[in-house]
């Protein structure tokens, strides 16, 4: 029994690392990877100029951090669809499922590797804000900053895992996915801090993990002590874990349904 459980755990880990490693190998050779990064410095410049000319240089940190969060979410959205639908169209989905490694964990591992794109994206928006506007964003609380970045990346990958499950049965899931980018930026406080929202909207946006990340990342750049850091980290962890659990289970459920229906390969 325990031996069986150990093996099961090993299978989950193998799935994660295989996906992670595979995604890095794939991304290195793909032009799409670099395209995903191109928008970051432009958004940084756009936001910086809005903040500067509206006299809200207090929101400059926001202008530097937002493009990275957008890169993360865009990459997560576009790759999460590709994970399942491209594999199905190519006849690979069945082969992946016929192998002993956990498929949901493979998806999560791949999406986690995609999140590495956040680092160059941040570097580019940081440097472009510095060069163009002379704003070199200070990081006063590097520990909070690093922790928030790591948890944000994991939570983004988890949310994308949950979204990818929709592709197992629905071929038209791409439309849903495309409509999800802007509302999430808005609700996640990526474009405008949620504290500027009317109260009811702020309430809703607190269900989106990005709203907690954006607060933490901004706070880590300011010299004042970070307020409610514990609550913010806890919420980020909670929302991330919930999406991961939901994502993994729903992939398992949809796959089972697809095995019943015979919907794993395109005829």
């Amino acid at each position: 029994m325990t031996e069986h459980l150990t093996k099961r755990r090993l299978t989950l880990l193998t799935g994660f690392w295989t996906g992670f490693e595979f995604q890095i190998v794939t991304m290195r050779g793909q032009a799409e990877t670099y395209f995903a990064l191109i928008t970051a410095p432009f958004f940084a410049l756009l936001y910086m100029s809005i903040m500067e000319y509206s006299g809200r240089s207090d929101l400059n940190t926001h202008a530097v951090i937002a493009p990275m969060l957008m890169t993360l979410w865009t990459a997560a959205l576009s790759f999460s669809g590709e994970m399942i639908s491209a594999n199905r169209e190519n006849g690979r989905l069945e082969l992946l499922l016929a192998s002993p490694t956990s498929f949901p964990m493979l998806v999560f591992g791949r999406l986690c590797a995609c999140m590495l794109l956040g680092l160059p994206s941040f570097a580019m928006s940081y440097v472009s804000a510095g060069l163009a506007f002379g704003y070199w964003m200070p990081i006063h609380h590097p520990g909070v900053f690093a922790g928030a970045l790591l948890l944000t990346a994991l939570a983004t990958a988890a949310a994308a895992t949950a979204l990818s499950s929709a592709f197992v049965l629905t071929l038209g899931a791409r439309i849903v996915q495309n409509t999800l980018s802007f509302p999430v930026y808005l609700l996640g406080g990526v474009i405008v801090p949620v504290s500027l929202f009317p109260g009811w909207l702020e309430g809703i946006s607190r269900l989106v993990f990005l709203s907690w990340s954006a607060d933490l990342l901004r706070a880590s750049a300011s010299p004042e002590p970070v307020e409610n850091a514990g609550l913010h980290f806890a919420m980020l962890l909670l929302l991330g874990a919930a999406s991961l659990a939901f994502g993994l289970l729903s992939i398992v459920w949809f796959l089972h349904r697809a095995r019943q229906l015979g919907a794993l390969s395109k005829e």
Partner: protein
């Protein structure tokens, strides 16, 4: 501890054991489509078994069920003693799958990267992976091109890579669904050698095809499937004999009288008008064929095509013979 050790050896577990298998597909606005009907088949370990059948017979459906990616509607299917529905993890560990064609690879990656990925999907450790991948690339003749992206490969090379992919975990049981479709003759010959090697190494192989000579040459036993029903299982010699003893002659412009005379020649098994003006004659190789040819040529007809019997013809032939045996 003191219990007497069993003297009788337990019979070895069957590689594949299918009992009363049914599978239907839901089709919108129509009654369910039945793809497999009460299929029973047992394949012992070490056997190379071919599943012959025309398009739409249910071959791929059966392969999918064996590889756990499709659930049976009813019935029981076991691979190396494990149930495909309840113990799919165990089944996956002893099974390799190759679905025909050249799809299913990561085209931007190299041959080596592709195999490396699949080796880790089959839970091979890093060192083991490196060794196995190199060995397989060599075995399927891709060592020279191992580090090139797959998108530049010919169809045949992709198919060979697929085979290597299916072998990555040295599975006890290998499912090959139309592995040679579209292969060039050289690749097909190499493929046959590979299957013989696998057999010698003790692997069990279930292979689907509609190429009879191939099935007859490679297999220990051959099963026919048509319309979702597994009709009969035979030794390949029987099929080989029919293929090499029968000939098909297509003649254009035969009259009714001529057709009747042809039907009376000893060794002619059938005379049918397949389309207006075109007559198909099935005859035993040798004297019967010679007599048929003489007859039509003397009647002044020259539009004659000779060929080997098709899968359907051999199948009908076998069914016919079985029917007679039963009647006796």
């Amino acid at each position: 501890m003191n219990a007497p050790s069993p003297t009788r050896k337990r019979p070895p577990v069957k590689a594949i054991e299918i009992q009363g298998l049914n599978r239907s597909y839901e089709v919108k606005g129509k009654p369910d489509h039945i793809a497999l009907k009460d299929v029973n088949l047992t394949i012992p370990q070490g056997e190379v078994h071919s599943l012959l059948g025309p398009n739409g017979a249910g071959k791929t459906t059966l392969c999918r069920i064996l590889s756990t990616v499709l659930l049976p509607t009813s019935g029981s299917v076991r691979v190396m003693g494990h149930d495909v529905a309840k113990e799919h993890h165990r089944v996956k560990k002893c099974l390799g799958v190759v679905f025909g064609g050249d799809r299913g690879l990561y085209n931007q990656l190299t041959a080596r990267q592709n195999l490396n990925f699949w080796a880790s999907m089959y839970e091979l450790g890093r060192a083991q992976r490196r060794r196995r991948v190199t060995e397989l690339l060599d075995r399927v003749g891709l060592a020279q091109r191992a580090d090139e992206a797959v998108q530049g490969f010919s169809r045949g090379m992709k198919q060979r890579l697929h085979l290597a992919r299916g072998l990555v975990s040295s599975p006890a049981v290998l499912i090959l669904d139309e592995p040679t479709v579209g292969m060039d003759p050289v690749a097909a010959r190499d493929f046959r050698d590979l299957v013989r090697e696998l057999r010698a190494d003790g692997h069990t192989v279930l292979m689907t095809t509609h190429d009879m000579p191939e099935a007859a040459e490679l297999s220990d036993r051959v099963s026919f499937i048509d319309n979702g029903e597994l009709a009969l299982t035979e030794s390949p010699d029987v099929i080989g004999n029919i293929v090499s003893s029968q000939e098909r002659i297509d003649v254009r412009g035969m009259t009714d009288t001529l057709r009747r005379r042809a039907a009376h020649i000893p060794g002619v098994s059938s005379v049918t008008e397949t389309e207006p003006g075109l007559t198909r004659i099935e005859a035993e190789f040798g004297e019967a064929v010679r007599d048929v040819l003489m007859l039509v040529i003397e009647a002044g007809i020259t539009d004659i095509t000779r060929s080997r019997p098709s899968l359907e013809e051999v199948y009908l032939h076998l069914i016919g013979r079985r029917g007679m045996t039963v009647a006796q």
